[in-house]
Symmetry: D2
Subunit: 192 residues, 4 copies
């Protein structure tokens, strides 16, 4: 896993997702060498870079041009990117241009989560996995509701992470903000 | 409970202790109108002010002169302080000058936690309560060990608090750093 | 604060609310000696008992008859209850029978949270406080949405509490399930 | 990552370590195909199985014979184990029999953590990684102190995990007990 402090950051771009969270996303995504993945709301590129080292092709989408350029710089810095397609634009439109996918990670949705998840469902190959990362209360609820409405078994795990910081007088535990991962098991429709 | 943002702050003084933590400290301290309390490491004055409104007398100790003056300003701002004695100096020395106590809250110890707790034990009236707030891993361990060595039943509760922050796109949960409260039940020695 | 283990429990009744959470509820409720309070979904009676010792009158509502009888037993056990009216029934109906209130704590809503909060708003005196405790993701979202729609400034605080348990080999930290408190500031409508 | 509920469990054996924690352990351990790893206090076998699928050889140690047999059953169940050496006995003794290692995961220490870490340090190849999982307050402190005394840069990360449980009325968040991972960066001695 790439350490958080080895990413180039841009104050107008969120991320990178904390190492511990990227780690769990990769566990849940079960990336395979022939998989096709999409990272919706790629931000700083944290998830895109992890996927790039593990799957055949990654589509990284963000409507913020600075997110696209920051992700690009981070890919270069870590010698990754040959298998990454960077796509600037609104996810619901841009998603129409990509092929079917095995893995979808949704880290940012610009208020269009339901539409995004509906398109992702249509493009998801049998056995595919969807993972939504949520820091907003509303996103946790909407992602659960929407994925359930789309026929998936849905799980949610919330992570509260605190890291030790060495001070002169001892080790202070410093909290990260809580992050929830909402992720799919098998789709009930796909089961038929 | 006084809201966190109604305290005057000083960048070189820690605190105030989060409202939710002060709230639990007050529950555990069970302040009575005739009680005498000490706040060791009073910092910004968060705990001192809460005690001041509930007990007969509070001794607020800090070796940082800016903490003493910040606590003083906060007492004035909230119309409290008539029953508060501010004492600048190292706790092990200054504690020698105060009378017996019903409540001791130790929020800062300057590396002298064991010595402080030993003196507090000697000054603690029967049925008195000791509460140590700890943000350092080492303090959690030392407070537990030391209070147990002094013959107390010791409890520890750790609080991870996240508060919602309203953003345009929703409610982001923002974590406070974890705080542990180590507090005494009945002293085994006192039982005899 | 009454310790958790001093409540009579009934396996078919939830509660009592953890001491640390009751403590924060009391801080947010700011109970006054002349206040009238309602506890919707009183369960084991944890919140009802705390309110009973602090306000003029408490209305404790639950549609589960065993919750009502458990709360009654706990009131008796702690010498409280003279100022408590126990009301068995569905909250939206029963709430119609009580006078105006200063404090409303909603710990259980039986799927009727929106209706309950609308009635509570109508009965809330100027400066009154509403506190919803939520352990379900959906309740957190709905309470926020609904109170906001009713014109209130709404806050949410989530508590993750771990308590030490003494084992032979050391102190194991044991987590309580996360609880969120959704609570009102000033109502925008009342401001006018 | 193997789901928690796909492990055979034994009431007298702790574990398996939660999937999310195993996931982070694997991230920190950075297992390579030619690596040699030891799992001290293998319990149910959660970490041993994950290592078995990723490294050349795993030594799984536990002084509880039922832990050894439970780990063995889990290895068989998941078609793993060809590269695992199960060793029943006290870790300080048994560790003397294994070759040098790239990865050490210490999940249980039977009160002999310092001795175990000292031996592990002697057997650790350059660039090797040590990860201690701690659920006891005392273990967190001791692991930090001891690894620091042995000359390592030490990090600590604490995980509070809550998983959604689907109920009729909504999604209840259910907490796991907090787990800390204490892990090494570069050893200062090795730097010379």
């Amino acid at each position: 896993m790439i350490p958080d402090d080895e990413f180039i950051k841009n104050p107008s771009v969120p991320g990178p997702t904390a190492m511990e969270v990227r780690c769990l996303i990769m566990c849940l995504a079960e990336p395979g060498k022939n998989d096709v993945a999409v990272d919706v709301g790629c931000g700083t590129g944290g998830v895109t870079l992890e996927l790039a080292g593990r799957v055949r092709r990654v589509y990284a989408i963000d409507r913020n041009p600075e997110a696209i350029s920051t992700t690009e710089m981070n890919l270069q810095r870590h010698g990754l990117g040959d298998n990454v397609t960077l796509m600037e634009g609104d996810a619901p439109e841009v998603l129409g241009e990509i092929p079917d996918i095995d893995i979808a990670v949704v880290g940012g949705s610009g208020g269009e989560l339901q539409q995004i998840l509906r398109i992702i469902k249509d493009k998801l190959k049998p056995g595919g996995r969807i993972i939504v990362t949520a820091i907003l209360l509303e996103t946790k609820f909407e992602a659960m509701e929407c994925l359930r409405d789309l026929g998936f078994d849905v799980n949610i795990t919330e992570l509260n992470i605190a890291r030790g910081r060495a001070l002169d007088r001892g080790t202070m535990m410093v909290s990260r903000n809580p992050v929830a991962l909402i992720y799919t098991g098998v789709s009930h429709e796909n089961k038929d």
